[in-house]
Symmetry: C2
DNA sequence: GATAAGGGTTCCAGCTACTGGAAAGTCAAG
DNA sequence: CTTGACTTTCCAGTAGCTGGAACCCTTATC
């Protein structure tokens, strides 16, 4: 299967698939014309990666997950540990964004937002937290 | 004021302050020995940037905000517009993270997480959404 | 006066995870 | 035989810094 078809099947752009090969995630065979040749297993792994990435796992986490996926003797506890760590990270990010959101919301609410120069948002940024 | 003192006063590392100069955000004077020389206004602007960055504004948004901050004829509506756009972006990111969080949470909950290889998390990643 | 510590300076490379573009090779259809 | 779609490689750029090397400046101490 050519890279274009693998892209179709996995939902990943060809550029990304080549990149994943570069960093050693999915290594396809080569045909006589030097075109990459993707087997069903390759495509399956690409789909796996697409899904894992869409859940926010980093490339290195994906590498570990893929390795566990291919290991018949894996312990589900190892997978779960990675997922739990990732969830904490997500929660941290959400909290960070939520804090920004709350601050900005109250500033925006306090700003009349017309042609006049007086602006509580700029005041806050300038260090005036009255 | 030397860069080290400006760093102390603004809470930004010297490396970051030099970077901000590179991209034209805060341009200090130079002293005879070629050392950067930061005035109170410079430091004030660095603090402004640190605060704006901590609220998640991009560098380009910071540039606009800083420009509006220095413009006595600004309209607060312009500032508000930038903030509102930024809030939407934050909301989008939170929603994205929340969706990941929900999916991962239910997967983690379904995973017994012991030494056995059977794992709902990997099953999901592999495309089995039963 | 020599020297060592603790600033400062420049420049180059690397981080994440791709993405765009150039130049060239390959393949199928008309 | 040419056109167009696809493929290849390689180089560069994105955001926002950060680390490190190699060197200069200032001050204090011996």
């Amino acid at each position: 299967m050519n890279i274009g078809d693998a892209a179709q099947a996995s939902g990943l752009p060809p550029k990304t698939i080549r990149y994943y090969e570069d960093i050693g995630l999915v290594q396809p065979d080569r045909r006589g014309n030097n075109y990459r040749d993707y087997s069903d297993t390759h495509v399956h792994n690409l789909q796996f990666l697409a899904r894992a990435r869409s859940l926010g796992f980093s490339i290195e986490e994906c590498r570990q997950l893929l390795s566990l996926y291919g290991d018949r003797c894996r312990a589900s506890g190892d997978v779960k540990a990675i997922a739990i760590r990732h969830i904490s990270e997500i929660e941290r990010k959400i909290a960070e964004l939520q804090a920004m959101h709350d601050t900005l919301s109250s500033l925006v609410e306090a700003c009349h937002g017309d042609h006049r120069p007086d602006c509580p948002i700029l005041k806050d940024l300038a260090g005036d937290r009255t």
